[in-house]
């Protein structure tokens, strides 16, 4: 399972003794067989935390990603009672953001365009609705930046760059080389906001990152708890957009998107919406779902400010 990882530094990549220990734990975590490996996982997170102060951020990102992969594989193998991959992602994010400002990523073009729109809106006195749309775009840019940081890779230079607007819709999506949905920005009601599917080497399931982006000061909304969601343990009468259960609650709508279309007749964005719904339900049940909420805002002539509000995994 370490195939394809040869380009990563082993020791000497700024990792030193720490790096060697991290490598050894990663190797252990990747052994299949379902042996309990919680102590190893906890120790790995500890070492990563120490690495933040001692290694250059580039190395923390590399070790963070490799640790994430191993912790995710161990989780899916049933070797961990408590998932730890999200913690590795959070440590990776901190380091990644310290080396990549938003304007140094492939998001710069999109970010400049949004900021330009904001200037024009102020100069020409646009409507509240127009301002809201600009803020929404800023929210999405912020989400992509924060999620790129969690994943340790510039999404806008990868899968998002390959995405396109589906004809006749406001959905934006991309598929991987095998034709499976890999990225989706949803438009309209009864949807999650964004879905990113990340292939993890050696894992039986992809890591599915789903999220909600908020622009400006807009608050997180609430939806009604349906009966199946309640049976899944969410007893409160409403679900907030800021909690992980929001993803399956929307997936219940999304997975039936093609219902009214005769087979093969549904437009591409409808098929993508349905596929995303099924991916979310699958990921929630197989414990490979990560839910991320982010806020982004900007004033005229100032850079976009981003902040991660919540990150949860199941």
């Amino acid at each position: 399972m370490s195939g394809g990882l040869t380009s990563y530094p082993r020791t000497g990549g700024g990792g030193g003794a720490h790096g060697a220990q991290i490598d050894a734990l990663i190797k252990l975590l990747l052994i299949p067989g379902g042996q309990p490996l919680q102590a190893e996982a906890d120790r790995l997170i500890q070492l990563l935390q120490q690495a933040v102060g001692t290694m250059p951020p580039q190395s923390v990102v590399i070790y963070g990603k490799r640790s994430r992969d191993a912790l995710f594989v161990a989780r899916l193998n049933g070797a961990l009672a408590l998932a730890r991959h999200l913690q590795a992602m959070e440590l990776c994010a901190q380091a990644w953001k310290s080396i990549h400002s938003l304007d140094s990523t492939a998001l710069k073009g999109r970010s400049d365009a949004a900021k330009q729109k904001l200037i024009l809106h102020a100069a020409q006195g646009g409507t509240i609705q127009e301002l809201r749309a600009i803020k929404e775009e800023i929210g999405l840019i912020a989400w992509l930046y924060e999620t790129s940081a969690l994943l340790g890779e510039d999404l806008a230079g990868g899968i998002v760059a390959q995405s396109a607007t589906y004809p006749g819709s406001r959905y934006v999506g991309a598929t991987d080389t095998s034709g499976a949905l890999a990225y989706l920005e949803c438009a309209g009601a009864y949807n999650v906001n964004v879905v990113v599917r990340v292939a993890i080497p050696g894992a039986s399931q992809p890591l599915l990152v789903v999220g909600e982006a908020k622009g400006g000061k807009s608050g997180f909304g609430f939806v009604k708890t349906s009966k199946l969601i309640r049976q899944m343990g969410h007893i409160a009468p409403t679900v907030s957009q800021n909690e992980i259960m929001y993803a399956p609650s929307r997936a219940l709508y999304m997975q039936k998107a093609m219902q009214k279309w005769k087979s093969g007749m549904a437009p591409a964005h409808v098929a993508a919406r349905q596929q995303a719904g099924k991916l979310i339900m699958d990921a929630y049940r197989s414990l490979s779902l990560c839910y991320v909420t982010v806020r982004g805002d900007a004033a005229v002539n100032s850079p976009i400010k981003t902040s991660r509000v919540n990150a949860e995994c199941r």
Partner: protein, 260 residues
Amino acid sequence: MQMNMGRPFKHQAMARELAGQAVQDNQAAFSQMERNWNIARASQDITVALAARGGLFEWLAATAILGQEADFESGAKTVIQWGCKLAEAFRPAPELLLVELSLAIRRKDHAARRQLASAILKSAPSDDFYNLERGQSQALAALVDLDYDTAQRHALRLQDAATSGEFDKGDSILAGAWAKVMNKLAQQDFRGCVNALLLSHKEFSRQVDLELGRLQRGADSDITMFDMVDWTADAVAQLVVDFGYKLDHLNKRDSQEYGF
């Protein structure tokens, strides 16, 4: 065994189409439950187990809608077993054992019935998140326990909820209907209970058909297979028979009209 009191929906074709897909989509549910259970036990986190159980419910409800008797029977047995394990290992809120208790009653699995009812009655959650399924499970458990005073108390609580506006519109109507069903059964008024049950199931079907109709028109709906089975109604119909109301030969009209 027949579910939904043997009555098809108006949009039965749509229900069957969704059920066919749900059987496909939830093939992995049983193995997921097995794996998630171990993780849930190790971490003492019930939500990990409940995540997988959601898939089991969808699969089971789909086989009920499709009338796949053998699959449903074996699936119901498995679901009851998991329910008993959940009750033992965690202290789930009463509503989280409603399906299992209902199925145990239907299958005349007396050991499971007793265990689940006692777990439901022992649980004392805060009243903040009171909901229809909780009221149903508490009243049902009390009836299984032959504690008619407690059953009436829970029926009364449901009646309160029906009129106070603490539920949404659909659940308020159902809560009122269910309060009557449980109350009549607690009073040993079998005839009255069966009549109330018919009304409540009619309302249940109306609400399901409303959502199926939305899908038919191409609108959005979050209806699930789980929502399409009136789990509690079938259990109460069984209890009425268990309590000695002989629908089958004493009253021809009952057996024809009610499907049991």
